[in-house]
């Protein structure tokens, strides 16, 4: 049955709508509130991190400044002769280390040509030549230099602080190497959560400190993020930390970066943390929201499914009730049309009965004569008896027709020949048609395929249409034409009258139950709606074409079933 499909799809549509309607506000709430929370919370966390980065940047800057200041003071107050002598230099270094907890690793004097004049410290550098060293090239340009971290001659990461001193019109540079480990400790311990870490990056994209987790750290592209592409003006400003997120190419996780430049834009202190770790509450809230929405969705889905099921079963029950009612209405309508038919039949049967009674009376009259044995009388009596027999058989035919029609509705679908049925119905209606001066013509298509339907319902259909046509022509008579044709793969039945026709407005409502144009008490208004129901049930179409005073044509097309009928009947009943 397609009924099951219909109810299933109805259930589906209901569930879809209910779920959508219930879920929409839930989702909207989750999204909007989530977004608000996300924005606010993120801003707060980022602000904290900015503070952290700025504070540490200041510490690092201060450390560098102090180192430079130390060296400057030393260069200015210590006699120059101490710088040129290794042993005196070692004394100075020891003092510095004592004061500064071993930040200065060594001390040296370099002349303007880059040659190491004297040296104090743990490394055996001999007379190193710094003429081409980057720090030296930089130092020649200014008074004070803090170099980037490099491996240098000794193969250990370190950086150089150099101060220019002038003596006898020649420039010398006092250089000290800063202990990398001590410097590293300044930033190494910054960090929150499991993944937070800080490091210093130079404008050339080189790490100045060792991050705890260097894996997947793409210093070159980070450089681009902070300082822009080479040749482009610096993106980062000294006072405002730069905040950005980017995907870690190694793990595919989203990382949060807070960077702040210092040392005249040469270095940047960069703080890096996994987003999920940086915003734990955010991720918790997100998970919670997703869980709530998912759970709510499940509950809504279940509830709407149960509700829809319940409603649809109600609908199905109502439909079943309606169908039962329809059957009853059809049955009632059938009775009504049978009643109409019966009136015609009563007339039809009445005549032969009246004739029989008169003939019998006539025979009795003759028998009451004395000379009833005369040949004339005998002949007359024989004629009368023949007539009685003839009229009796007429009665028999009529009663059989009526009985075949008035049987209880036979709902079983059979394949039947529409032409045969139309001929039968036309014959049944001929008498009534005669009285209202209507000629009944049938024009039956040859070799029509059978149609599938219940015989009694199809009889009912044709009879209702014929009765309506006769009603329409009651006043002035006319012609009723019943046509059957093959139209494509369907069988078409047309019932055409030449009666009073109807307005468009009437034609539009004509298949509605209880709609009637007949006088009160004449029509039930069910005939055509029953026709409509029967036709729809058989998967057919019914339509009417009519205009006032132009008669009407009812057109019914039914799906063909099975083989064509072997022999079509002759046209006239």
């Amino acid at each position: 049955m397609s009924d099951r499909h219909y109810y299933q799809s109805l259930t589906r549509v209901m569930v879809a709508w209910m779920t959508a309607v219930a879920l929409a506000p839930l989702l909207a709430c989750a999204l909007v509130l989530g977004h608000q929370f996300h924005t606010a919370y993120r801003a707060k966390v980022v602000a904290q991190l900015e503070e952290l980065v700025l504070k540490h940047r200041q510490q690092v800057s201060a450390f560098l400044r102090e180192s430079v200041a130390e060296l400057r003071v030393l260069a200015e107050i210590a006699p120059f002769a101490d710088f040129t002598d290794d042993r005196a230099l070692a004394g100075l270094l020891a003092t510095m280390q004592h004061e500064h907890g071993g930040v200065f690793v060594d001390l040296g004097l370099v002349d303007a040509a880059g040659a190491l004049v004297s040296y104090a410290g743990p490394f055996r550098l001999g007379r190193a030549d710094y003429a081409e060293a980057p720090w030296f090239l930089a130092a020649k340009k200014g008074d004070v230099t803090v170099s980037d971290v490099f491996l240098g001659l000794r193969g250990l990461p370190h950086f150089v602080v150099a101060v220019r001193v002038s003596r006898d019109g020649r420039d010398y540079f006092v250089r000290a190497t800063i202990d990398f480990a001590a410097f590293n400790r300044l930033v190494e311990n910054i960090g929150q959560g499991a993944t937070g870490q800080a490091f210093i990056l130079s404008a050339r994209g080189e790490l100045q400190t060792t991050p705890r987790r260097a894996r997947g750290l793409d210093a070159a592209s980070l450089r681009a993020n902070i300082w822009g592409e080479p040749g482009v003006a610096a993106v980062a400003a000294e006072d405002k930390p730069l905040v950005f997120s980017r995907e870690d190419p190694e793990t595919g996780r989203l990382m949060l970066y807070v960077a702040s430049v210092f040392k005249g834009g040469e270095w940047a202190l960069v703080y890096q943390q996994d987003e999920a770790d940086a915003f734990p509450s955010l991720y918790r809230a997100r998970m919670l929201a997703i869980a709530i929405v998912a759970l709510g969705g499940c509950v809504i889905l279940a509830a709407s499914w149960i509700l829809a099921r319940r409603m649809v079963s109600r609908v199905a029950a109502a439909d079943a009730e309606r169908d039962a009612l329809n059957d009853q209405v059809i049955e009632a309508g059938k009775l009504a049309s049978v009643g109409e038919l019966a009136a015609g039949i009563a007339h039809e049967i009445n005549n032969p009965v009246a004739i029989m009674m008169e003939e019998a009376g006539w025979v009795a009259d003759i028998l009451s004569d004395d000379d009833h044995g005369s040949p004339d009388n005998m002949g007359e009596m024989r004629r009368a008896l023949d007539q009685i027999r003839l009229q009796g058989s007429r009665c028999k035919e009529i009663t059989h027709k009526l009985l075949s029609f008035a049987r209880k509705t036979d709902d079983r679908i059979k394949e039947l020949d529409l032409n045969e049925l139309v001929a039968e119905m036309a014959e049944l209606s001929t008498k009534r048609a005669r009285y209202v001066n209507v000629r009944v013509e049938t024009d039956l298509g040859q070799g029509l395929p059978h149609v599938a339907g219940s015989p009694s319902e199809l009889q009912q259909l044709v009879l209702n249409l014929v009765n309506n046509a006769l009603d329409a022509m009651e006043r002035n008579g006319g012609t009723l034409t019943i046509t059957t044709r093959l139209a494509g793969d369907r069988v078409e039945l047309r019932v055409t009258d030449t009666g009073h026709g109807m307005q468009k407005a009437v034609a539009a409502r004509i298949f509605e139950p209880f709609f009637t144009t007949k006088a009160v008490g004449k029509g039930t208004g069910l005939g055509l709606s029953i026709c409509y129901g029967i036709v729809k049930k058989l998967g057919g179409e019914i339509s009417v074409e009519s205009a006032p005073q132009q008669g009407a044509t009812f057109r019914i097309s039914l799906p063909a079933a099975g083989r064509p009928a072997a022999v079509a009947r002759p046209g006239q009943p």
Partner: protein, 134 residues
């Protein structure tokens, strides 16, 4: 057989088999009977001859019995008309009475009953010359 009844009666009915036997039986009882097989023929016969009474079928193919009756009462107001009607058409018979029929009978009818009604109608018509009903 009872004594003959000398009445001139017009029978109007389109059922030939019925009307002919009825005519024979009425003639046997001494009536003078003219048979018309349609309303139109009945009108023609009435125009050409005088009748004491008419018997008219209510349902005919060419013309409604009520119409025939109306024309008859217009043509000869004094002539009583007895209507014959099938079962289930008592409504129509009452319409007939309203339209000026003297009486009505249900088909199939008993001949003696028909005769009695005819005689009664004719007697009534003679006693009170019919004023045309409005």
């Amino acid at each position: 057989m009872s004594e003959p009844i000398p009445l001139r009666v017009l029978l109007v009915d389109d059922e030939q088999g019925f009307v002919e036997v009825l005519a024979k039986r009425l003639r046997r009882r001494g009536l003078t009977v003219a048979v018309a097989l349609s309303g139109a023929e009945g009108l023609r016969l009435l125009r050409e001859n005088d009748f004491d009474a008419a018997v008219c079928d209510l349902k005919m193919v060419d013309m409604d019995g009520i119409e025939v009756l109306k024309v008859f009462t217009k043509m000869v107001p004094a002539m009583p008309v007895v209507m014959l009607t099938g079962h289930g058409s008592e409504e129509a018979a009452k319409d007939g009475l309203a339209a000026g029929a003297a009486d009505y009978l249900l088909k199939p009818c008993d001949i003696d009953e028909l005769l009695a009604k005819l005689v009664e109608a004719v007697d009534k018509a003679k006693a009170a010359p019919a004023s045309p009903s409005a």
